[in-house]
């Protein structure tokens, strides 16, 4: 998601093509081509410029509704819906069967493996979705920032937070039953929005770190120097 105002001018975008399975959009105002995943103009008058990122949060509808009961939801377009254009509920299984066109040859992971990608201070790291789900939460340090990656109760919504509280890194563990987190320093309980809900730190909020759910080949294509989290290696530096 991107802010569309650049130099005081609001751009309007159209789908314009595809670059190694990541789409290109063209703005009406200058005709420049923009890469969807990076928000960077790759060709045209605005080449080299970047749109301002809007933090991405890809979560289940139930969770979103609980956090934002007053929010609004994009309605299906009646024509597209009638024509059966929208993806079925199990659409990700269908995508997994599509061919992959990519120049990425890095087979450390399966090309179609679902990963959770994090970029901190220019350091990129990919976590296999299955590791994220099994080890929930994952405690790690990327680009010098101690972070935690958490999966919500629905098993699919993923968020990451900085583990710094008052300048010091805290360790976070799953509670039993796994409905939230507890920190090792004070025993305070934390929820999926990164807020301490009880204990000495109640009311405190951890800083969000953006995560991107992506396929390995796509993540690797736009983060060529990415590290990969090795399950089981606790506190691996990157």
């Amino acid at each position: 998601m991107w802010e569309t105002t650049i130099d005081g001018r609001t751009l309007h975008f159209h789908l314009a093509g595809i670059n190694n399975q990541n789409f290109i959009m063209r703005d009406e105002e200058t005709g420049s081509w923009w890469q969807q995943v990076t928000g960077e103009a790759i060709l045209g008058p605005l080449k080299g410029r970047r749109l301002t990122r809007v933090p991405q949060d890809e979560i289940s509808f139930a969770l979103w509704k609980r956090e934002q009961p007053m929010g609004r939801v994009l309605r299906p377009d009646p024509r597209a819906a009638a024509a059966g254009r929208y993806a079925p509920v199990d659409w990700e299984a269908g995508i997994a069967k599509l061919p992959i066109a990519t120049r990425v040859r890095d087979r450390r992971l399966d090309l179609r493996e679902l990963v959770v990608g994090v970029t901190v201070n220019g350091r990129a790291k990919a976590y296999r979705m299955t590791d994220v789900q099994q080890q929930n939460p994952i405690i790690d340090t990327v680009g010098g920032v101690p972070l935690v990656i958490v999966v919500a109760e629905d098993g699919k919504s993923v968020r990451a937070f900085s583990r710094r509280v008052d300048g010091k890194a805290v360790d976070l563990f799953a509670t039993a039953p796994a409905t939230g987190l507890v920190d090792s320093a004070t025993g305070s309980g934390w929820d999926f929005s990164g807020r301490a809900i009880h204990g000495p730190l109640a009311g405190r909020q951890l800083d969000r770190i953006e995560v991107l759910r992506d396929y390995w080949f796509d993540w690797r294509s736009y983060h060529p120097d990415t590290a990969i989290y090795s399950a089981g290696l606790v506190r691996q530096r990157s």
């Binding site: 991107w2 105002t5 789908l15 595809i18 139930a62 929010g71 377009d77 929208y86």
Partner: protein, 160 residues
């Protein structure tokens, strides 16, 4: 002027007009890797295609008019050779990606508690700005690919 030369020119004009629109469409097709050079050529061709194809069509018409007298059965081929520039001039003004993935012209929204069209387990892209929260169901985004909106007075494009 040499009629043979004019016929030859007509064939060249038809081939060029076609190439200007076919090459970018070929290079940026899905399920095929793209190179930076290929993208650059496509970008340039797409930019000049609206003008080049019209010029080709006009040149084609002029050549056909010149060759019309004296071409008896050849008139069929003259008409056929006008089809590529005509097609190209039209295609250069189309966005065939929007044929496949219709843009969302008038995006409509529903209150969270009234949104019966999204399953609880469906993923949404969520954004919250200046007190306003919006969810974009991924199953809809996966088709439209981009949705433009203004959230908390900030114009944004949601991409998937």
């Amino acid at each position: 002027m040499n009629r043979r030369l004019l016929w030859f020119l007509l064939v060249i004009v038809a081939a060029l007009a076609l190439a200007v629109v076919i090459v970018p469409a070929w290079v940026i097709q899905p399920f095929r890797p793209q190179s930076p050079g290929g993208l650059e050529i496509s970008f340039v061709l797409k930019r000049i295609a609206p003008f080049v194809t019209i010029a080709a069509l006009l040149a084609g018409v002029a050549l056909v008019v010149t060759l019309w007298r004296g071409a008896r059965w050849g008139r069929v081929f003259l008409v056929i050779l006008l089809l590529p520039p005509a097609f190209s001039a039209w295609f250069a003004r189309q966005n065939h990606f929007e044929w496949m993935f219709n843009p969302l012209a008038n995006a409509g929204y529903t209150r969270a508690d009234a949104a019966t069209f999204v399953g609880d387990g469906d993923l949404v892209m969520a954004v919250a700005r200046n007190g306003e929260a919006v969810a974009y169901p991924v199953r809809q985004l996966a088709y439209h690919h981009l949705v433009q909106d203004t959230v908390g007075r900030v114009p944004i494009v949601v991409t998937y």
